[in-house]
């Protein structure tokens, strides 16, 4: 018997809620509340009503009679979310520091080796740069560059600190990520927290029934060809044009030409003569090889994850197995990873004691060679991949650069892989001593093992050859254990004063040891044969070890008065073995204050549309110890010999007897001067923040402004040469400041069927070097005299100003004296106006750092369909596009191949070109660093576009499944770059300049099935 059920929906404070969806679960009938929160719906007694509103926790109410139904919804549901903030958890509403919480559902569908990659552009204040390399490498900077050394953040994974990258953690095992950006929130991690802290919590077992979830995704990455080199005919033309420009005979090397002079005396090319063979022995037929094509491929990426979770009265457990396999779009590159995880806990003594563990084991394998894209320009297109027999390798002949055939490099390195095993986890004990007093102890370990067998085969490739096979084995192990103990106490006074106390202590001990052994001369190059024992020639070996330890004490008090006034005080006392005997310890205090104005009565009554408004301020100090483990010691070492191929031998052995062979007497060399006064580097941060929510949290967001002053920055300054070998020492020498802002805004709305969310973020920073030791200043941009980096951003660019080309002889004579000037050459600005272009004309050309980075995410769901789209961009950054040295010039790198841009070089027939005239010589010193090479790094990209469909639960119940979602995901679908103006980007993708690994466009399909 259906009847009209009336009712009213309010928030927990009794304020009516509009636009709440009210639905009858059994019939699907629905309506919405009006401005007074009232609704009317037809339903029967015994049926259920479901009340839902975006941003609030949905509620279901059973209809027991026909009386009006009054329902309260908690619209601050989002704010009740619990956040891990350092040895404890806090409600989001109580946070007073700058903490970003990652929305995991937006990032987990991208198959990637490193979760941080997917956060690019999503978290304001977290600057992430990546490439298309399959190894998942990502450069993570929180609030910019805070120091002159290592700027990597600290990761805390289930309470275990780690400074390693996230490559070995399965993306789908991650439950949540929080990023502590300011000092007041990070300083509890004191040491190593100066670059920010990223807290990662892995999935845990859930109470209730056993749940199984399987995820499968597979995709294809499209090889984005980002380099365009000359083909054989074009390469010949360029040689001819340059030689005729220089007034020399173009006929040399592999090319011949037929040309003539026209009536004006200009040379005209009739024909490029390409020989049948490029070598005298006729083994290499002249080819037209596109080396960029030869090294690329469309690659497959796969991710399989199985996740079992269970939980009973007194125990919970989670088991997961994850396999990730990513081939690179550059042949020969790949990364695969198999990981298993068991997280479990047991509660004893009626819940007062909990024992548990989190443990993962990961085996990762990747290639050793890396990307060969950079090599593709070294070898000319006329060189064939193979010799005429189809087996031997093509390679350079006289007149060409002494570089390798990249296809040979890929083939000959196939058997060389790097393997790594990482054991990561902890065991913990939680004991409730009194009702509000808890003790927690955690013992964790993070150990890695890596090994590699690198076989170098013999080959002949043009004039390049290696007659001796060789082998090097590498074995490394490294890692640390962590032991921390904390006591927490909760105190509530008169129901309004809430205190949280935390006291703790932590020990970290790190050790690393490595071993390397090599052998030359093998009779067979079969991988089954090439082991060290089988070698017949010279043997080499080396090994070393290092160690450091940290000892810390810390405490924290959080105070909350009636949810309105919030305060927090932290202090951490850190000792490190890395510092000198005089200053091993550093003290890192912090405090923060918060005021939830929206909880004030005057605010509630007058501004009821504001659902949340909080002001935050934080101040704090964090430490940095990223220096050599033995930085404070003066040291000597025995160094029999070092490899002198690319750097000078620094050995200590000498053939004093003049016998020319045999074991040599050897000595010692100094490698470092001591500095017993070395101390912690300290960053002091101020953070001003506002969190707000409007219209029942339909609009929410936050704004943060920060300043960060880093003092006593640890540097190993270059030193006056007379100090000679081992003159280096670590000092606390520099200071810098960072100022920046972060802005996040979310709009969420919808109905029962259609829901949508738009999130935008924007962040920028500027740093400034404020102090440097005088003798170090010249290691940074500047002229060493009156122009220095002091007071300027670290990534400032300093050099000459290029002012287009000289186009007429008058241009040349009218200009200041410039050695090597001429028509078709770059004109440099006489900045100091003294009539001569010289060193003093260098000036500040801009700053490489972007003005801001931004991201915008759209997600929408309609019934069972969902879709998401994420755009991300960078504005105002500059890139030193060194690639122009080979896309615009042929004189910098002789005998190689060049970019197709040189075809558009200036010539009398092409007088409008901005690319300098072709010449084999660089008489005008155009290699000098100038604005010619500086281009805009700005871009705007469609990072992801995803469509998903969740299969109806009723349909699934019949086949015993709880949920099935299928999705399709496209990545890096559209890119915009700055293609106009003075500093337009002339390459393909400003995100990966200079032969960088191109970021592929990819398409992935996947499904999630839960049982």
């Amino acid at each position: 018997q259906e009847s009209a059920i009336k009712g009213r929906v309010t928030d927990t404070n009794g304020i009516p809620l509009e636009a709440v969806t009210v639905a009858v679960t059994e019939t699907g009938a629905s309506t919405m509340t009006g401005g007074d929160g009232a609704f009317v719906i037809n339903a029967s007694v015994g049926q259920t009503l479901r009340f839902s509103l975006v941003g609030a926790e949905a509620k279901t109410v059973a209809i027991v009679d026909t009386r009006p139904v009054d329902v309260q919804l908690d619209i601050n549901f989002d704010l009740e979310e619990v956040v891990v903030t350092g040895y404890q958890t806090q409600r989001k509403a109580d946070l007073t520091g700058a903490v970003s919480v990652v929305k995991m559902d937006e990032v987990t569908t991208q198959p990637t080796g490193n979760i941080m990659k997917t956060l690019q552009g999503r978290v304001p204040g977290t600057f992430i740069t990546t490439s298309g390399s399959p190894d998942g490498a990502a450069d993570v900077r929180i609030r910019g560059i805070g120091t002159l050394g290592n700027s990597n953040p600290l990761y805390i994974i289930d309470g275990m600190p780690s400074t390693k990258s996230m490559n070995e953690i399965a993306t789908l095992d991650i439950e949540s990520i929080q990023i502590l950006k300011d000092a007041s929130s990070a300083s509890i991690y004191g040491s190593r927290a100066a670059n920010g802290v990223i807290i990662i919590t892995t999935k845990k077992g859930q109470r209730g029934s056993t749940k199984v979830e399987a995820r499968i995704s597979s995709g294809i990455k499209n090889y984005a060809k980002s380099l365009e080199w000359l083909d054989t005919e074009q390469r010949g033309y360029v040689q001819w044009q340059a030689a005729r420009n220089d007034g020399t005979d173009p006929n040399f090397g592999v090319y011949g030409f037929e040309d003539h002079q026209d009536a004006q005396g200009n040379w005209v090319l009739d024909r490029v003569i390409i020989p049948e063979f490029i070598d005298a022995a006729k083994t290499m037929r002249a080819a037209n090889t596109d080396w960029v094509d030869e090294v690329g491929r469309n690659a497959v990426i796969q991710n399989y994850n199985l996740n079992l979770s269970t939980g009973g009265e007194n125990s919970k457990a989670l088991f997961s197995l994850d396999y990730f396999d990513s081939d690179g779009t550059v042949r020969g590159t790949y990364f695969d990873r198999l990981s298993a995880r068991i997280n479990s806990d047991f509660s004893l003594l009626k819940g007062r004691l909990t024992l548990g563990e989190n443990f993962s084991i990961t085996k990762a394998t990747h290639d050793v060679l890396g990307s060969t894209l950079g090599v593709t320009r070294n070898i000319q297109p006329i060189v064939p991949v193979h010799t005429v027999d189809g087996v031997g390798w093509g390679g350079p002949v006289a007149g060409m650069s002494d570089r390798q055939n990249p296809v040979r490099l890929i083939e000959d390195n196939k058997q060389n892989n790097n393997h790594m095993l990482r054991l990561f986890g902890d065991v913990f004990l939680d004991l409730q001593l009194l009702e509000n007093l808890k003790f927690r102890s955690m013992l964790g370990m993070d150990y890695s093992f890596s090994w590699q067998r690198n076989m170098q085969k013999t080959y002949t490739s043009g004039f390049m050859s290696e007659p001796t096979a060789s082998l090097v084995n590498y074995n490394n192990r490294w890692g640390n254990y962590v032991w921390n103990n904390t006591l927490t106490y909760k105190l509530d006074l008169k129901d309004k004063h809430h205190f949280d106390f935390l006291a703790g202590q932590e020990l970290i001990s790190y050790y690393s040891e490595n071993l390397q052994a090599g052998r030359r001369e093998f009779t067979s190059e079969d991988p089954d044969y090439m082991y060290l024992d089988a070698g017949e020639g010279a043997q080499t070996n080396s090994g070393s070890a290092t160690e450091y330890r940290l000892l810390s004490y810390f405490g924290k008090i959080n105070y909350n008065f009636a949810d309105k006034y919030l305060a927090s005080v932290t202090t951490r006392y850190d000792g490190s073995s890395r510092f000198g005997s005089n200053n091993p310890f550093g003290l890192f205090p912090a405090f923060s204050l918060g005021w939830r104005i929206s909880e004030e009565d005057f605010f509630k009554s007058s501004l009821s549309f504001v659902s949340d408004f909080k002001l935050r301020f934080g101040w704090g100090q964090t430490g940095n110890q990223e220096i050599g483990d033995f930085a404070s010691y003066g040291m000597y070492e025995a160094r029999y010999g070092t490899n002198p191929t690319w750097d000078p031998d620094n050995g200590t052995a000498y053939d004093i007897n003049g016998t020319g062979t045999g074991t040599l007497p050897s000595g010692y060399r100094r490698i470092q001067q001591s500095n017993p006064n070395l101390r912690w580097e300290t960053a002091t941060q101020n953070n001003f923040g506002v969190d707000f929510g409007l219209f029942g949290q339909r609009i929410s967001g936050s704004f943060d402004y920060f300043t960060k002053n880093t003092d006593d920055i640890l540097i190993q300054p270059p030193f006056i040469a007379t100090l000679g070998e081992g003159g280096n020492r670590w000092v606390n020498g520099a200071s810098m400041t960072n100022k920046g802002y972060e802005f996040l805004l979310t709009y969420a709305n919808g109905t029962e069927k259609l829901r949508y969310t738009i999130t935008g973020n924007l962040a920028g920073y500027r740093n400034k070097v404020t102090k440097l030791p005088e003798d170090v200043i010249n290691s940074y941009p500047g002229n060493g005299v009156d122009q220095t980096i002091l007071g300027r951003p670290l990534n400032s660019l300093f050099g000459y100003v290029a002012d287009g080309l000289f186009r007429t002889p008058e241009d040349v004579t009218d200009h200041a004296t410039q050695i090597g000037s001429g028509v078709g050459r770059i004109r440099y600005v006489d900045v100091n106006g003294n009539g001569t272009i010289s060193d003093e004309d260098r000036t500040w050309l801009g700053v490489a750092d972007p003005k801001f980075v931004y991201g915008i995410n759209f997600s929408i769901s309609y019934k069972r369909w969902d879709a998401g789209m994420f755009w991300n961009g960078l504005y105002g950054g500059l890139v030193n596009n060194g690639a122009k040295g080979y896309t615009d010039f042929i004189s910098f790198f002789g005998g190689e191949n060049y970019g197709t841009r040189v075809l558009g070089a200036w010539s009398p027939q092409n007088p409008d070109s901005d690319i300098p005239a072709l010449s084999f010589n660089d008489l005008n010193d155009e290699k000098r660093f100038s604005t010619y090479f500086i281009e805009s790094a700005s871009y705007f990209k469609l990072r992801t576009l995803e469509v998903g469909y969740t299969v109806s639960p009723t349909a699934l119940q019949r086949i015993g499944l709880q949920g099935v979602r299928v999705f399709a995901l496209g990545e890096n679908l559209v890119t915009f770059k700055k293609g106009w103006g003075e500093n337009r980007y002339t390459g393909v993708d400003p995100e990966t300049p200079n032969s960088g690994y191109p970021i592929p466009f990819s398409l992935t399909f996947g499904t999630t099935i839960s049982f």
């Binding site: 040399f252 005298a280 006289a398 007149g399 060409m400 004039f463 390049m464 290696e466 001796t468 090599g518 010279a538 070393s544 070890a545 290092t546 330890r549 000892l551 490190s576 073995s577 091993p584 483990d629 033995f630 010691y633 000597y636 070492e637 490899n643 002198p644 191929t645 690319w646 750097d647 000078p648 031998d649 620094n650 200590t652 052995a653 053939d655 004093i656 003049g658 020319g660 062979t661 074991t663 040599l664 007497p665 050897s666 000595g667 100094r670 490698i671 040469a721 100090l723 000679g724 010249n778 060493g784 060193d839 790198f893 002789g894 005998g895 084999f920 660089d922 008489l923 010193d925 290699k927």
Partner: protein, 554 residues
């Protein structure tokens, strides 16, 4: 707190090395510096500095951008005070000096009882230190003099103008004199160790350079006769120990290393427990591009140098007009009479490479003919099938020793000193001795049929017969002879500066050569500047402007 006590691994502390045994080892480590080098920063051989700027050689390699700093050196005009490679070269010299000073500090702290060889080893270290200072002095003129008595924190206060040019020479001379006075004639029979004769030879060399007194503008203002007298006496003393090798070729073959002519050489080694051997890394870029070698075609002889080996019908050099026509082909060498030292020094297309009659050097072996022409360097290389050759992919070199001082060089110092002393008649037999040896050094210069590869004609100078041996003529003959004998060994530019003729000589060379090699088109040598490199800007800055820049570079 003891938890934080962590000691360095596999490293020694200052106190651990203070024993006589370790002092002995620190001495070895100091010698090791003689061979600790690499093309990248920078060769211990002075060829990039002494040959490329003298008109004897071009940089070579893959175009002007390949090791572009060397291109700056040889073209002069674009040179800057902040060239990174020069700063590195300066630093590498002080790295070597610091090893000697480190050893000296340990040696000084030990007593004669603890360390009976104390004085000898100290003399060796002062000899080595002086060698590295001498090279620095040639390159940069005004240099900080650092010895072991100064604590490192004081180095920052030592200026490069603490001593004048002349005083710096006296300091270096005093070091060699100490070594000559305290070293035994034969130091334990160890060929690599400094001995009395080595020290006397180097003393003579330092005295010869110091004798040409320069003003601030690098102009020679006076030639010190007393120093020249001592040069003559010292070289005469060497005669009891050294002699010319029978064949000029022996000086450039590893089978004959440490021969009678070698006075001071870098002792290189192979199969010595290091990965590749301690090879002559100065030559690692200087092999041709054919299959037997493969890289990298640097250090190419100039056309001017090749032309200088012409001899006239009288068997004497063609002092005037030698550069009017180019001697370029193997066929021309059959008709044009030449000094055979050309084919010991320069590889020419169509002729055997490194004395191997059936191993013909071809145009295709050359890296970039269009830029750097047709010749390659021979003295520093060895044959691919020589037991001392070693491929170190992508480079290669050999364990052949590299001579720093050879007896032929010393004989020419003596001749030079005699000529400048006005005793040029006495110099005549010395110069002729080298010419006679050259004339006889042709047995390896043959083709596959055993026929000579050139029309070799070298005649001694005979006063009144084929020349008028005046001081001026003798000076010209001596300077020519030094070129023929020592070309491509890294010393020519420093000879020119010593004689005070670098500007006119180099500019004359450039005016003709730039027509043949377009990369030289903008090159000119700036008098009163380019005689020396600038003090590296970075070092002036490190010194907080205590160092003063060389004249012409301020």
């Amino acid at each position: 707190e003891s938890f934080l006590d962590v000691n360095p691994k596999s490293k020694l502390s200052e106190s651990q090395i203070a024993t006589p045994e370790n002092a002995e080892n620190l001495v070895i480590a100091a010698y090791s510096s003689l061979g600790n080098e690499n093309y990248n920063n920078k060769t211990n051989s002075l060829w990039p500095y002494g040959d490329l700027r003298s008109g004897d050689a071009y940089k070579g390699g893959a175009g002007t951008g390949d090791m572009g700093e060397w291109n700056l050196y040889e073209t002069f005009v674009s040179m800057r005070v902040d060239v990174g490679g020069l700063d590195q070269k300066w630093y590498r010299q002080y790295v070597a000096i610091s090893r000697a000073n480190n050893a000296l500090q340990r040696i000084n702290a030990l007593s004669e009882e603890e360390y009976p060889k104390k004085t000898i080893r100290a003399a060796e270290m002062r000899f080595l230190r002086a060698h590295f200072l001498f090279e620095l002095k040639l390159l940069f003129k005004q240099i900080p003099f650092i010895d072991e008595t100064l604590p490192p924190e004081e180095y920052i206060n030592v200026s490069n103008v603490q001593y004048t040019d002349a005083e710096l020479w006296e300091k270096i001379i005093a070091e060699f004199r100490f070594a000559a006075d305290n070293l035994p004639p034969d130091n334990d029979g160890q060929l690599g160790r400094a001995n009395q004769y080595m020290a006397k030879a180097y003393l003579a060399k330092a005295l010869l350079y110091a004798a040409y007194e320069q003003n601030e503008k690098h102009e020679v203002t006076n030639i010190n006769q007393q120093k020249l007298e001592e040069v003559v006496a010292l070289v005469d003393e060497l005669a009891v120990r050294y002699d010319l090798a029978e064949d000029f070729a022996y000086n450039f073959l590893c089978e004959y290393e440490n021969g009678p002519e070698s006075i001071f050489a870098v002792q290189n080694s192979l199969n010595d427990g290091t990965e590749f051997g301690r090879l002559d890394w100065s030559a690692m870029l200087n092999y041709p591009m054919n299959a037997e070698y493969g890289c990298c075609g640097f250090h190419q002889p100039s056309q001017n140098l090749v032309n200088a080996y012409k001899t006239g019908d009288n068997g004497l050099p063609v002092f005037d007009g030698f550069n009017n026509t180019d001697m370029a082909s193997a066929a021309q060498l059959k008709t044009q009479s030449i000094d055979p030292r050309l084919l010991h020094t320069v590889a020419i297309p169509g002729l055997p490479y490194k004395y191997k009659p059936d191993f013909i050097f071809e145009n295709s072996w050359i890296r970039q003919i269009e830029t750097y022409g047709y010749y390659m360097s021979l003295k520093e290389v060895v044959l691919y099938d020589s037991p001392c050759f070693k491929k170190v992919n992508p480079f290669m070199s050999s364990s052949k020793n590299r001579d720093i001082i050879r007896y032929d060089d010393a004989l020419l110092w003596k001749a030079e000193a005699l000529i400048e002393l006005g005793r040029h008649m006495e110099a005549l037999p010395t110069i002729n001795r080298l010419r006679e040896r050259a004339a006889e050094s042709t047995s390896r210069l043959v083709d596959a049929d055993g026929q000579p590869t050139g029309n070799f004609r070298v005649v001694t100078y005979q006063n009144g017969v084929n020349c008028n041996w005046t001081q001026a003529f003798a000076r010209q003959a001596l300077r020519w002879e030094r070129r023929l004998e020592l070309a491509m060994e890294g010393s020519r530019f420093f000879d020119l500066v010593r004689w005070g003729i670098a500007d006119s000589y180099v500019n004359e060379y450039l005016s003709a050569e730039k027509a043949k090699r377009t990369y030289l088109a903008a090159s000119t040598f700036e008098k009163n500047r380019d005689e020396f490199f600038p003090i590296p800007l970075a070092q002036i800055n490190f010194s907080k402007k205590l160092y003063e820049q060389n004249y012409g570079w301020e």
